[in-house]
Each structure stands twice: as C-alpha cells, then as structure tokens.
C-alpha cells in the first residue's frame, strides 16, 4: 500500500501561496535533478551506485525550510534532496555525481558521499545509521560553541534497526543536544519492507527516552515545513526532537533496480501521493508553469556546465588523505 500518513491540512499562514510556491520550486529542483540523473545513469553518463529520492522531496525541502545556514545536517545514502535543499550548488552537484574534479567533493565522494560544509551539509553516508552520531556530535559543537545552530540527522526507516539510533537518542536526551531526528519512512530498506525488519515503533522509542516525537504526512510539503519549524525551534532550545515523515520511494533502491519485489498495484497508486503533484494542485497553473520553466533551465545549464568538468587527478586526490601540514606516509 502506498504510504500517506494522515495529517491536518487546513489552510494556514505557512500555506500562503508565495511560500508554497517557493517550497514547490525547491522540490522541483530536486525532482528534475534526479530525473535527469536517472536518465544520465541509464545513458552511462553517471557512474556508480545512485539512490534517488524521487517521491520523497517534501521531506528534505520541508525540513530544510526551517533551517538556517549555520544549522547542519548529516544525511544517509539517499542524500541528494538533503544536499540540494540545504543549498548545495546545482552545478557542483552534477559535477560531483559525474565524478569530476570540479565537483563539490572533487569527484571523490560521488552521489553517496556528497557534502558541502559551506552550507552545513555534513555528508551523505554510505553506512546506514552512521549519520546519527555524527549529527549528535555536530549538535554538541553547536552547543559548546554557542552557535545557536541545530543539527539534523536524516535517516531511513531501515536504519531504525541499527543500534546507533538507540545510542544517539539517549545521548541527545542526556546532553540536551540541539538535535532533530528526521526519519524518512518510505516503508522499504533495500529490497525488503521495513515491516519484515523492524518491530519497533519510533514514536514510542523516542518517548522511552523522554524525547518528543511526531508523525507527519511526508508527502505534504507544507505540513512538513510547519512541523519542522516547530520541532526545529524546540531542538534549538535544547530539547531534541523526533519527526517521522511518512513517504514513498518511487524508484528502485538504486538506479537499475527493477523493483520486481513490489506490488504493481501499489506502484500504480504512487502518483496520487506525489508531493509535487499535491503541492501543484494548490498553486496557480501559471505559477507552476513559470517555476517549471525556470527550474528546467537551471538544470539544463547545470548539466551543460558539468559536462565540461574534467577528470580528477589521482595524485591530487592522494594528497588530500591527510592535511597538508605533513606529508602522508606510504
């Protein structure tokens, strides 16, 4: 069954057209960038393992709408949305996933390790559950250095089975860290439904540590943004928070995964829950068209520019294993 948590959707201040349009624009950037990546991957232009977040855009966009530049986030393997929503430059994004020297990580990280410290995006992560303690540490730095910042950990429902969730919930509560846990609950961990992997209830788990937790319709960008602005404010005050966003993974686990394991009837209902479609329905057709044209131009320009990127040099890469203060051994 496609997933769509019930969430109050009454018109409110945050729903005002202009803001909603901006949220739509940001979601569309993620969507079009990933659709383009999907094509480029099929064409052999993008290498490696790439995990797309198509269908989940409302979560990173809604959450990041509540964040400041100095706030930080630790992501997981499905991190494009987190990166772009936090402000990573589109051109350097494409350069990176194409493995180019001019990419934000010099082509060394690619899709699964994309990061932009300049906007507080501490990195996608190839290790399920590993971002949680990193976010806690980032929150600790905010706390000790009095930056006023919040650290967010984005993790999937599959990641809930890793012990780091438990340990990090405890540490965040114990130290009153300015930290937000965002679970992108898309119902799947790779090729297995999470219901066959995890028996716990995230809200109850958080509650066991005295942490406030809420579930939101992760396909409703305005609802996510509203919930996020509330929980981010609380986290900023040193009350760590959990936000569970129910959403859908539309593409395979990674590009190239034909998803034979999924119920076709389920896949068919996905468009009804599409966060972009749902958002667009509340906007004027002209506005949507204008934003669409603008985003498509930006994507096209970024891809064109990225195609001019050059291959990274192994010697330069090797020189970055250690800081430049001393020559590395080996």
């Amino acid at each position: 069954m496609a997933r769509n948590a019930k969430g109050g959707d009454a018109a409110s201040a945050a729903d005002r057209d202009v803001e909603l349009l901006e949220l739509y624009r940001r979601m569309l950037i993620v969507r079009r960038a990933e659709e383009r990546l999907s094509q480029m991957f099929a064409d052999g232009e993008v290498p490696g393992f790439i995990h797309l977040s198509i269908g989940q855009e409302a979560v990173p966009v809604g959450v990041c709408a509540a964040l400041r530049l100095e706030d930080t986030l630790a992501s997981n393997h499905r991190g494009h949305g987190h990166a772009l929503a936090k402000g990573l430059d589109l051109e350097r994004f494409f350069l990176e996933v194409m493995g180019r020297a001019e990419g934000v990580c010099g082509g060394r990280g690619g899709s699964m390790h994309i990061a932009d410290m300049g906007v507080g995006m501490l990195g996608a992560n190839g290790i399920v559950g590993a971002g949680l303690p990193i976010a806690a540490g980032s929150a600790l730095a905010h706390q000790v250095r009095r930056t006023g910042g919040v650290a967010v950990a984005f993790f999937g429902d599959g990641a809930m089975a890793e012990g780091t969730l438990h340990e990090t919930l405890n540490l965040a509560a114990l130290w009153h860290l300015p930290m937000l846990f965002v679970c992108e609950d898309n119902g799947w961990g790779e090729f297995s439904p999470t219901s066959r992997q995890f028996t716990g209830d995230l809200i109850a788990l958080a509650g066991a540590f005295g942490i406030d937790a809420a579930t939101v319709d992760g396909n409703d960008v305005a609802a996510v943004a509203r919930a996020a602005s509330k929980v981010v404010a609380a986290a900023r005050d040193g009350c760590p928070q959990v936000l569970r966003c129910v959403t859908n993974r539309v593409h395979g686990h990674y590009e190239g995964d034909p998803q034979r394991y999924r119920d076709p009837a389920d896949l068919e209902t996905l468009p009804n829950h599409d966060p972009l479609r749902r958002c667009a329905a509340k906007l004027g057709a002209d506005d949507v068209a204008k934003v669409t044209a603008e985003v498509e131009d930006r994507i096209a320009a970024a891809v064109a520019a990225a195609r001019a990127g050059t291959e990274p040099d192994i010697a330069r890469a090797r020189a970055d294993v250690y800081s430049p203060c001393e020559a590395a051994h080996g």
């Binding site: 290498p47 490696g48 393992f49 493995g99 180019r100 020297a101 990580c105 082509g107 060394r108 990280g109 690619g110 899709s111 699964m112 390790h113 992560n125 190839g126 290790i127 399920v128 559950g129 599959g158 990641a159 089975a161 890793e162 012990g163 961990g189 790779e190 090729f191 297995s192 066959r196 992997q197 995890f198 394991y261 291959e311 990274p312 040099d313 192994i314 890469a317 090797r318 294993v321 590395a328 051994h329 080996g330």
Partner: protein
C-alpha cells in the same frame, strides 16, 4: 566439468552444505526473499524454507553476535555482511567473541560459523563500499581467513569453511562474482591453509590471493613474452597461510613479489614479505617487492578508481625490479 560463475559456485556450495547438514542456517540482510544483494543466495529460501534462510534487520553487530550464540548452540550459521566495509560495526562480535570463545573457555566449545563478505573496488561503489580489510582479521588469533580466486576454489573452500569448527571469514572479491570458471561435477572440499600453484615458473615467485591472482597471471603472460618465467601462487587461505609452500617456491626462484588489492601498507603482503625476510632470507637474491593499492581510500571517480587498482603492468614492473 561445468562452467559456472563465481557467485553461482558460492550459491551452490551453500545449497549443498544445507542439503547435507540440517544445522547449516543462513542469515543476513536481504539474503532470503531478495536472494542476496549480488544474487548469490537466490533460490535458497525456496529450497530450505524460512526457518533456515532468514533476512535480518540492518543490525550488523547483532547479526554476527547472534551467529556466535547460534554456533555455540549447535548450528552452523553462515552469515553475510553485505560489504566488508560494514564489518567495522561488527568487529567486537568477530574479534572479542567469535575468535576468542574456544580459547578463553578452555576449549569447551568451538564457534563453527562462517562470515561471508565481499571486498574490493572496481565497481564504482566508492570509499565506504570497496575496502579490502582482510589484514585486520588475519591479525586475530582464533579466526581463519579465506579468499578464493575462482569458482572451483570458492566452492571447495566454502564447503570446508562451513564444516569447519572454527570461525571463518570468507572474503569474496565482488568484481569476481560474474567471472566464469569450471566447477568439477563432484567438487569436494578444499583444505584451508594450503596454496595452489596457479602457474609454474622458475625466475620469480608471485604470491597473490583473490582477484589479484588473475592480475598476477596476466602479468605472468606478459613477462613470459619477455622470457621471464613467473611462478604464480594462489594463497587461497590467508590465515593460516602456506608458509612452507611459499618458501618452497622461493627456494626455486630466489625472488619474491607479493600482490593484493588491499592497500600495501600494513596489508597481508607485509606479513608474507616479513616472514620470508626472516625464514627465507638465505634464499633471497633480490628485494621483496609488494604490489598493493596506494595509501588512500577508494575514490568515486572512475578514472581515479581505475588508477588505484593494482594492475598487471605494476606486477610486471615489480617482477622486473626483482630481476635488476
């Protein structure tokens, strides 16, 4: 003699072991219903049922810890850690529990488990999905470490590993899964700790394991064209490794090159070289040269990854250096 893919040979070994012994059970992430991230365990759930073939939560520490308890309890668990890099999460269960139980409990029990895990770069998987960490395990008393180079060895070594009373880390180079090789009809177990002479030669001994054996053989071909006769030894088993076998070859060739995909520094090759620089010192006519990856993580960019991987040209150059 049937042609089989490396991955299929592993699946066959699992199936045959499960058929022969009801205590063999299999668990890991996506190994049951999905048939394994690389398709290696496909069909086993149907053949042996959900009690013996289980998908687990994404909980590596507990997967391996549970394997230890299950093995002490009389099962022969074969668990999979999806990428060797993820062993970082499970090192306590491997090193402090599985490896030490027999010793620290005074020989009261064995821990007959196998941990299968793929290592290696070359598939665009990036820095956290490409490491070769076998040297970690080889350093730990109580563990056995195996790394096959071809389908027939993968079958035979895995059969031995599963029946073995000690914990075995079974390392599969992921770039080999699709490689074809012959699997004898009545393939049986292959003993651990004994190397295979992959190619006989007279001028230099080239020691390798896993995918690097193929690299070494390619280099040997190129060297043969130049009149250099390289003997290629496939270690098969890294802990224990066949010191006597390497020494015997060295006594013939007096020159030694060690090749692996893992980073050279503090890798498996260091032990082989160090040992030969001691017990084989009088046989050596030239420096011992190691060929391994440079001291850096695997990069995502395909050109950097390709340059990172130790290739046949590097092996040939290393051999030439021993002949200078």
């Amino acid at each position: 003699m049937a042609e089989t893919r490396f991955g299929k040979a592993i699946g066959q070994a699992l199936a045959d072991a499960m058929r022969d012994d009801p205590d063999v059970v299999l668990f890991g992430e996506d190994v049951a219903v999905p048939g394994g991230p690389f398709g290696v365990t496909r069909g086993l759930l149907d053949a042996f049922g959900p009690e013996r073939v289980r998908d687990t939560p994404i909980s590596e520490a507990t997967i391996v810890g549970a394997a230890v308890g299950a093995a002490i309890g009389g099962l022969k668990p074969v668990v999979e850690i999806m990428f060797m890099d993820f062993c970082g999460i499970a090192m306590d269960a491997i090193v402090n529990q599985a490896a030490k139980a027999r010793f620290m409990f005074g020989g009261q029990c064995s821990v007959p488990m196998v941990l299968r895990t793929p290592h290696g770069a070359g598939v665009g998987a990036g820095p956290q999905h490409s490491q070769c960490l076998e040297a970690w395990f080889a350093h730990i008393p109580g563990l056995r470490v195996v790394c096959p180079s071809n389908a027939a060895d993968a079958y035979g070594l895995l059969r031995t590993a599963i029946d073995h009373p000690d914990p075995v880390i079974f390392v599969e180079n992921k770039s080999l899964y699709a490689a074809k090789g012959d699997l004898p009809e009545n393939a049986g177990p292959i003993p651990l700790g004994r190397l295979r002479v992959a190619r006989e030669g007279a001028d230099v001994t080239v020691v390798a394991y896993g995918a690097a054996v193929g690299t070494a053989l390619t280099a040997a071909d190129a060297l043969a064209a130049d009149g250099v006769s390289a003997e290629v030894l496939d270690l098969r088993s890294i802990q224990p490794w066949d010191e006597a076998g390497v020494l015997a070859s060295l006594a013939k060739t007096h020159r030694l090159v060690v090749v692996h995909e893992a980073v050279e520094a503090f890798g498996v090759g260091a032990e082989i070289a160090a040992r030969m620089a001691d017990v084989g010192f009088d046989e050596l006519d030239a420096p011992i040269v190691r060929v391994g990856a440079p001291f850096m993580p695997v990069a995502f960019a395909p050109n950097v990854e390709a340059a990172y991987l130790p290739g046949a040209a590097q092996v040939a150059a290393a051999v030439r250096r021993t002949l200078e």
